[in-house]
Symmetry: D3
Subunit: 248 residues, 6 copies
């Protein structure tokens, strides 16, 4: 099985962190193929950055998805996820969605801990957009700016774990998600430091992607995820034009 | 990996149907161990039958779970699922929950099709209890009583598929779940007859159980799923007494 | 009028506390007949204990309900209440439900105060299950384990009242419910210590049961509370088998 | 026990219909004292008419409530109910509220059937205002204007019953409320014609008022139902001025 | 354009404060015509006072609306607003509604700051009634009674601004509304003291009223805002009788 | 006042239709400056097309917004609206948002009528995203593909009006919005053919933009709409890079 892991921001070092974690969790026969967005932010925090990233995810899928069995949108916040599902015939999963769905199986109340207030806003809107905010009891964010996204896990790890403990004590969280692609692996390291299950997005997304490939659901021919009819586009990359407007 | 598949009703023939389907989907190294409830209804449709089944699920786990890596509560409606999670240190998944969570990854609007109006009521309450009814657009039920639960798939299969088509056409469902353990396998057979992805619970539950075993989340020491303190019980089976009241 | 008061836990001393309180409130012509669950926990706090209690409530109704005009499920959390309504032709009321409905007539915002965190979880799920959580502004719980459930009212009463005051001051509760069958009578004693109406479940349930008997609604022949068709069961008590499977 | 029954419209004949039904259900020792609004509409259907009726209910309470143990606001829609609770030290109940709360104990899904589309709008807003619309599955209304409100029960009764049957068959209602004070008594007459419990407001309100008097909850000193401080008013009736502005 | 500004309380000084602020914001060609309620409270805080005010708003419209292009109900809480829309053929807007709708365009999370706890309750119910409470994150109220409503802005202004800052810091409000007609103008004065947009009702209502006049939507002939059929009334002012019962 | 009207699709003819309608409604002193997206779809229907359009809206604002007092995102569905508000210091309004907010002032129940099922999905998600779906009772869509978007109003106008009538009759809509930028002006033409108020987005957006400019709310320095800190971007247009990363 071959899974395309798309980093929707433009920082290669973050791509590598996430790909390494994905490989840790993948089944023996699963190959993880990482790719970094062609345009966009060095790391995504705001609605504007997420909007550009959604375009970049489609752009990357158009360029790279051929030959893969599934794709992972590897920014917590899942930019472009639903859009990607409309146009791809392989399963596409988001790391936020995957972590949230997994949290639903491990407790009734889950919390997300993340690195900045802007990320907290994005993640809350993401959970709501997925219809998975009903059991979200808190999003906790570190204060202060993120100095170096590529080393965020090392620099901010202790502070993130401390907030996870507060999520349990003060918010009554029964599962905690560490939100943010660059934190990939921290949940594993901190497993024994937090008294409830702790998840990150990459691990859950690998499981979910493999499961969906094995289930092999048919592509929809009806509804809002059926492949749209071809129509004219302008100004897109050749690959994205070809994907969206094959009749051109 | 060894997964205990619990049929919460007392009909062995249904246990076998579900176990066979579970084996179809399980990974090569996964063993499915079926067990049938010691007491309860021949098939579960009502709140009363589900209440008794919840007790029977705990009873079966107490008797049989030792040596397993995970357990599946294999009645759509997930009787006793949250209770089981409180007292077991291995992952426990429900077939309704598993199908609903999977549906969330394949479309925005899902429907459930089932065999009777009483089942429809139970499934709706189950979806609501899981906080997964926000994207549930319809539950469609056949009319008439279920003559022979062990052969329900053969006898009612065509009618169920017909309702699935109506769920797509009239309710705008983008994913359809065939609800009811005894229908296990029908979704696979009817894959090409329905223009959107169609799921059943057993297949999704096998994927979910395997994923959770691989993720290996720690047991909670806090919150409403932490193992309860021992307290006196009366009138339970010896195994269940030992599980719930180890200090006795 | 004869009302069966079912204690869903197995502790006779708690049954007596609740029966005494019920008799305090009953009309002159009303007889309260207490009965204690045949199996289950010494007191009910968790989902697992509540699941077993639901079965025990059905078991007790099957054994004892004949000749009564109504029944009260006398554990706050209402285990088995909806199931009981499916199979009984007399009104069945729960003490949590009764207190919540009464609270709706006395203020816009109500709180529940109870003895432990596990109870708080159960009560919250109970309120949600009844569709009566929209005006529930807080559930406050004492910390620490319950040492002696039969004397809980005496030992924990002061602490419960203190939390009630906090519910008014900090949560803005306009009505407070003291949740927990063993607290029966405390609301009456503390009436003047709390500056808003304070309720317990037993008193409200007696009023509700009497009212429903007087209203005399007909039994439903349609919908999810119509008496289910007979079907085979295994492993139940003779009385419960006879109730659920009269054709056997 | 003495209960003031306030008809918020100005039609004496309707007052009499409702008072007769209230007396049918009242306990032997309960006296029903009817009073008709001093100003307002001949019957209330619209938001404007309900707004005026809310004032009229306060006006009537100020004039007549002395010496009563409880009061009933006897227009389905409960005009002025919450306002009345702020200023009265006796229990005040609404006939819509009472019927809805009772419906919550008899089924999971309830419907309201009424005489006109304008009433349906009002009742829907009333249910939502009470936080009791979560289990309301339909409001069905007759078409056409109401020719003679005082004889509505006789003239429209058959049509109302027919809609009740549709509420059961098409909407899946498990309880049906006949909404509209002038229909008082019809639910009793039609009890055997509808296959689920059928309620009206007056009967339920009598039960609820008697129950609250017996429970005797203390008056709130905190929150939004505590008696407001005195402040100047202009242009009100002497009795209402005296009630709202006792320092004057 | 001529806009009738109705003060639903009976205090002329408050009418003048609000009219002055309305004139500040009105377009050059817009004339603001203030009118004070004929009966009711010196200022409105409770449900009872609001109920009477709703009647008074209809009364004032009936007396004064002729010749105006739009009307503003100028008490935050919008008493009688929906009722007024049923019977008037010109646009009627409420100052709470106008501020809330404007807040929806300036941030995702809004808060209301007001002068007393009773007002907070009323405003919360108003937001809910409008279906605009989904993005309302807090209502903050000053403690203590309002000594002099006509000078509330001067006396309480600093305290209100302090609460606005807390709404931003502690509640995460992205827009703050100063709730209460007598505060008209304070938002303008405090614009630079609060780090997010701050609104009051009168300014937003003037904009909304002018916009609706320019859009010129037709009067509804269907639905719950179509002009009701004439029916008999008793005890109303001649103007209101003539408005509601033109056939009389 | 100068308002930038951004057409998020790439079809100039649609830009002209919308600009003409905007000019019809603008105040005498208001200048409408239309601009067409530099890249994207010929018309926007799907999530993928909307995702690309969100980027294109930011791109257009960066290029053209200087010197304007406000901007209108002129595709019903409001692509990129919240993102635009983060980075712009002038008011930005969406035509869907503007129409929905206006609908809230004219009736309790609104419907949207549009040209295709894919648009209906987008609009529903848009309403939900704005928190304005609570009063949305139906979205009705024409069947069949859109042959010529530039002439959609002429070709599909009669069919759209017919659906509006059904929205009133069958869905009980009290206000109808014609959704879709290319339909601009149709609501005006059909004003007398539909028995309730009918709106389109462009007219409402012009009113809203002018109102916000006149209100002149300050830019937020706190919360999720405060201007983000500068950070590195790659692959964007020079103008957009300069807007998002001014320190570069």
């Amino acid at each position: 099985m071959k899974i395309l892991l798309i980093n929707p921001n433009v920082t290669e070092a973050v791509t590598e962190v996430m790909a390494a974690e994905a490989r840790h969790w993948a089944s023996p026969g699963t190959e993880i193929v990482p790719v970094t967005a062609r345009f966009g932010a060095s790391y995504i925090e705001t609605r504007g950055e997420a909007a550009i990233a959604a375009h970049a995810v489609l752009d990357a899928l158009a360029e790279h998805a051929a030959g893969h069995d599934a794709a992972i949108v590897s920014a917590f916040g899942d930019p472009g996820l639903a859009a990607a599902r409309e146009v791809m015939h392989i399963p596409v999963v988001g790391i936020a969605e995957a972590a949230m769905l997994t949290a639903y199986t491990l407790g009734k109340r889950y919390a997300i801990v993340t690195m900045s207030a802007r990320l907290a806003t994005w993640y809350r809107e993401c959970a709501r957009d997925h219809g998975l905010d009903g059991r979200l009891v808190a999003i906790r964010a570190l204060t202060g700016a993120i100095a170096d996204i590529a080393n965020a896990k090392e620099e901010l790890g202790h502070a993130v774990v401390a907030e996870c403990l507060l999520a349990v004590e003060e918010d009554g969280a029964e599962v905690v998600i560490m939100g943010g692609g660059p934190l990939a692996g921290l949940a594993r390291d901190a497993r024994d430091d937090i008294p409830v299950p702790v998840l990150d997005g990459v691990s859950c997304a690998v499981m979910l992607a493999e499961s969906l490939v094995r289930l092999g659901p048919r592509a929809p021919e009806r509804g809002s995820f059926a492949k749209p009819a071809s129509k004219p586009f302008e100004g897109l990359s050749p690959a994205l034009s070809a994907l969206l407007d094959p009749d051109q």
